[in-house]
Amino acid sequence: MTAVFTVDHVSQVFQPRRSALAVVALDDVSLTVGKAERWGIVGESGSGKTTLLRLLAGLERPTSGAIAFEGAELTPAGRDSQRGFQDRGLRSRVQLVFQDPRSSLDPRMTVGAIVAEPLRGRRRRAGASSLSRPDRAARTAEVLAAVGLSADAARRYPHELSGGQRQRVAIARALAPNPDILLADEPVSALDVSVRAQILNLLTDLVAQMGLTLVLVSHDLGVVRHLCDRVAVLQHGRIVETGPTEQIYARPRQPYTQELLAAVPRLPAVLPPSDERKPPRPLQK
């Protein structure tokens, strides 16, 4: 079985225009994502996790190193990365769910148009011409139903929906072209805790039903533990630890991983005896 993604010594350096300071977002990262694996990429902000995801999506090309998709180079040098990706019909196979649906949904499009958009530009895909308008509408209704939205949601605009519903739309758009690989960038961190569970349930179900390969980026270790079977811990652009989720959570080897795990705020599992808490002190005048 070939790996879906093979990330081979990849570095990504951003050189802001007119500035001498370069930002190293990824530093010599190697990672292999196998079929139907569910990877969680964790780390703090600025650790490079979103950059890694964008590389896997083919939205950027690495500064050095190579990423292979099913054995073939994802973004061959010397070609427009977009075009290379489309030529091989990969566009529909790899889809991404963004963090903030307020930014990832075009405010001037209806939900229906948003979800149908990835079904429009598929003329380059070998053997599959772009879907006709009724076919697109049918597929749109199908995926909207799959994410738990009613059919008449297609006529609404994003601002008419709640945060949770918007993220459902974003997931529906990602699923519309029937991808094999789902990339998700902090899919629940912009949502209220109370909505988070719904979206997590939805993602769990969809990944299981469709047998998707999942690469999920999150700073929330609870989310990763719930959805993923493998974890890569990123710090300052480097992978410091990888392994099966249970192992990482039960026996983290690296101090940074331990620190991350310790930092997660938890509800007291057992009721704390009341004297364990500090009593209020008298006023100091």
Binding site: N201, D220, G222, A263, L267, S274
Partner: protein
């Protein structure tokens, strides 16, 4: 803003507190029947909110975004926007704050009541060195030489474990990380040893590890100063980390109040039960179906 209660006393001063009651029976902060409406359409943000906060008590205010948590804190500070209309009563050490003149409130703010905001990235004036901004908190409420003030600021920065506090004091906000800025704001809030600190989601914008440090710091600072705290968050786990008592807001109204332990063990309102279930993500079996708040509101939750 209209006052529910009439002000007495000369302009710019607050009436003295009632001297008869003992420290315990006079709450530090007491809100009664607080209602807040916004804008021309009179959208109601708070409905009949009442609560008490004893000296040194730490009260967590929890609810989803838009439920009226921040509005409560801003109402206490007298910092609601002009479009807000407020009725009810907010008393600090027995003195009515609602409708108090701006000058009297300003004298109170930063000295007796301090606030730490959610967004450290935008809460500091980008054109002024953070040391000077913090120093304003001191010099507004006490006369002090600028040398002494600077010394106090740097001490305060050191207390919140800012590395190299001298250099931080001379930095502009954009030169600091989010965690550093939040420490600066926390240090500024603590400078005058206020009796009440309002924290509006102070760690939501921060990374988990930074959040842990800041919460730890807040915990210790509160313990050291004996200040009371109204801690606002949407995350039950974070609130439980700092507070003894929790108050749950749902759609602008308080649905449940009680000590953390009791609330966790025996929540009475379905919304509270839903929040607790959502916060116990890491106790659920991976991949299992998570109970949602809706389950509880519908009454189908466990």
């Amino acid at each position: 803003m209209t006052a529910g209660t009439e002000m007495s006393g000369p302009r710019g001063t607050l009436p003295r507190e009632v001297p008869s009651a003992s420290q315990d029976s006079v709450p530090l902060l007491e809100a009664k029947g607080l209602n807040v409406w916004f804008g021309r359409h009179r959208r109601q943000a708070l409905r009949d909110v009442s609560f008490r906060l004893a000296p040194g008590q730490r009260l967590g205010l929890i609810g989803q975004s838009g439920s009226g948590k921040s509005v409560t804190a801003l109402a206490v500070m007298g910092l609601l926007p002009d479009t807000a209309r407020t009725t009810g009563s907010i008393r600090f050490e027995g003195r009515e704050l609602l409708g108090a003149p701006e000058r009297a409130l300003a004298a109170l703010r930063g000295r007796d009541i301090a606030m730490v905001f959610q967004e450290p990235m935008t809460a500091l004036d980008p054109t002024m060195r953070v040391g000077r901004q913090a120093a304003e908190a001191v010099r507004l409420h006490a006369s002090a030489t600028s040398r002494a003030t600077r010394r106090r600021v740097i001490e305060a920065f050191a207390e919140v474990e800012l590395p190299d506090p001298e250099r931080v004091a001379d930095a502009f906000p954009h030169e600091l990380s989010g965690g550093q800025r939040q420490r600066v704001l926390l240090a500024t809030a603590l400078l005058n040893r206020p009796r009440l600190i309002l924290c509006d989601e102070p760690t939501t914008a921060l990374d988990v590890t930074v959040q842990a440090h800041v919460l730890d710091l807040l915990d210790r600072s509160l313990a050291a100063s004996g200040a009371a705290c109204l801690f606002i968050s949407h995350d039950l786990a974070v609130v439980a980390r700092v507070c003894q008592d929790i108050m749950v807001v749902f759609d602008g109204a308080i649905v449940e109040t009680g000590p953390v332990a009791r609330l966790l063990a025996n929540p009475s309102h379905p919304y509270t039960r839903g929040l607790i279930a959502a916060a116990r993500l890491d106790e659920a079996a991976p991949g299992s179906r998570l109970p949602t708040v809706e389950d509880f509101l519908r009454g189908t939750g466990s």
